[in-house]
Symmetry: C2
Subunit: 399 residues, 2 copies
């Protein structure tokens, strides 16, 4: 795209809080501290501190959303969306992304050192929730001196965090963009999570969670990731990418990967082990399974009185977080009188589309943020002016 | 249903053939013998030997399709479809079901004793194909003195066998009923198979396939089965059966099953280990992945000249073998001028529907068999009379 670019070389920062005796009280009632969050920022916070956008990563993501680390080749996981002239335009916005609480990419999680023992927490790490992740992010936002976020945006479990921001801190966000996500996991989604967890816990190297970090339950975690990858793609995208092609002409050993799709899964599974902690996989998927933005009701109550504008995005071929779940978010918002827009993006990429189907996603996010930002500017100039129009519908393919 | 009933107490029979030096030559070129097939029959073969129906079981099925074994409580896996007055009416038809080659329920497979060593074959068992399974069934049919089958019927990999009968022995079947199946696995189906295989082979108890039968790779096989069960159900049927209900009020151990759906998967997984051999799982899923009824083409060629009538059934909520795959079978048949009817049955049960959505399935199968059988009788009386009407469409909900 003309005039767009990378944020260039970036560094990860670390923020530590909840130092004993001021530990954070978790949703479970347990206390945890100290807590470190790894985070990155791109762009500059403006004078009014009104241009900050918090990017929320999915299950296996991290704080490195954009740009490159010195010496590294690969760009951040959402680089195509973040940078000068990109959807999250760093010439205009101050973009923040932090690794979630419970993660393993610089933030405190089960692989972190337990201050009581000097060993990794393992299963002594307390159960954490999506709400706890958001609470930790709120500490970071406070630390950065930001009272109100222009937006919170994320896909998959990042979208759950966006919904939780709406529920926990409605007065601190001007907008929210939950993408390819749900108010709560269906039993099918719980079941798919559980298979991954069982694969990890069945690996004798898991050792009830107290494995050494250099000898992790690699086979189990790889299998969990294989299941994940199948659910992130679609029938159609797999056909396009692999078909029924075989890997090579040589006669392979019995039951070694023969089809290209098998080789791909093996590669993605074994690669994942190098960068992800098996216990973090357990804790984060559990947090996702227990997440229920709305509680037993229909979600309208929890969103009552929210002034933030909401843009809900779903992808047609996403069978892991099917569009009907995004429509449930929209219905909950509408029942609560929240200003919500819904767009269902045509894509064959399945759930991965939120990372890959960048062009349409960019346009929608860019235009939405533009309106919110301009309204925001107006609010700054003329406080308490009510916006005259609503954004409902009209920007994509309504359901 | 009025006037329908069970076939009552039944026994499994065993047929052994391909005794050395007359081993069966497999599709791979390897030789295997002796081969035993476990099989059951229900009803009586008529004087013309024209009323025999071969029932073909799916991945984890067996020869015990109907009735009960003495001392057992549970009925055969398709009992609701087979019996006096039922869709496969044993007052009228002679119904045969055999455990597949490569299986572990009485037929020769990797858990059978290798005559060369006196130990279970393990991975010394040769790779087998759906075609080999059908070839073994053909030996059984010869043994039973049946020249022509009234029908071959089965769901899932049983449906693949029905398609293979059409390809291998078109002159020996008067009809075929492939249900919830496909001409060939998509990469998504291969990927789901592969996760199950990897789970088995990652279990240290697998020991490269040479585990002792009393110490099998139980955790790995259970995980494979868990993946299977998720794919056999639908999002909707899981919601109906489990919702997000928790198992109990007590605080469970960290990461033990909490949701009902997790408990169900654990139960089904660990139960499966008691009745199924892990190596058979590898061999049979591999046969399914490699099955390609049509070869690289569109399937029309392989079905050219087939006189058998074909009834293709699919289920709307089946996402493992989606209706579009059944429609591909129909298209291949139509291109080849084969007399084919397609019905897509409304059901929320997902792939399991072929075992559970009995009422509509029964009606369709009953009426179809009735027409084939009557035409058959006519043929017997007046040889070479051409049937005047085709069965295409009209019996269900076309796609």
């Amino acid at each position: 795209m003309e005039g767009t670019g990378s944020v260039g070389v970036v560094e990860t920062n670390y923020f530590t809080f909840a130092r004993p005796p001021h530990e954070m009280v978790l949703e479970s009632g347990e206390r945890l501290g100290p807590i470190t969050l790894a985070y990155e920022t791109y762009g500059r916070l403006d004078q009014n501190r009104s241009n900050a956008i918090l990017v929320l990563h999915a299950l296996s993501g991290d704080a490195h959303a954009a740009g490159v680390h010195r010496g590294d080749k690969g760009a951040g996981w959402w680089d195509a969306m973040i940078g000068p002239g990109r959807a999250l335009d760093t010439d205009r916005y101050f973009v923040i992304c932090s690794n979630v609480l419970g993660g393993c990419r610089g933030s405190t999680g089960p692989s972190s050192k337990n201050p009581d023992t000097g060993e990794p927490y393992g299963l002594d790490f307390p159960i954490i929730s999506i709400k706890d992740m958001v609470e930790a992010q709120r500490h970071l936002i406070d630390h950065l001196g930001i009272e109100t976020l222009l937006s919170v945006i994320g896909g998959s479990s990042g979208g759950m965090q966006a919904l939780q921001w709406m529920a926990s801190y409605p007065e601190r966000i001007r907008s929210a963009i939950p993408i390819a996500t749900t108010l709560r996991h269906s039993p099918q989604q719980i079941a798919l999570s559980e298979v991954g967890r069982q694969a990890i816990m069945s690996d004798p190297d898991w050792k009830s969670g107290s494995y050494h970090l250099h000898a992790p339950p690699a086979r189990g975690l790889a299998i969990a990731r294989m299941v994940g990858h199948i659910t992130y793609m679609s029938d159609t995208s797999m056909k396009g990418k692999f078909g029924r092609r075989l890997r090579g002409a040589r006669k392979p050993a019995k039951f070694s990967p023969e089809f290209e799709v098998e080789g791909y899964l093996e590669y993605r599974g074994s690669n994942f082990v190098k960068r992800f902690d098996a216990n973090s996989y357990l804790y984060i998927t559990k947090a996702m399974d227990h997440f229920d933005a709305a509680g037993p009701g229909d979600g309208a109550k929890v969103f009552l009185g929210i002034k933030a504008k909401v843009l809900v995005l779903a992808f047609k071929s996403d069978w892991l977080y099917p569009p009907y779940q995004s429509q449930e978010i929209v219905e909950a918002c509408m029942s609560a009188g929240v200003d919500v827009t819904y767009c269902e993006i045509q894509s064959d990429y399945g759930h991965d589309a939120f990372l890959l189907e960048i062009e349409e996603e960019s346009d929608l996010v860019r235009n939405f943020l533009d309106k919110v930002f301009n309204a925001n500017e107006a609010v700054t100039e003329r406080p308490r002016r009510r916006r005259a129009h609503r954004l409902r519908g009209g920007e994509g393919t309504p359901a």
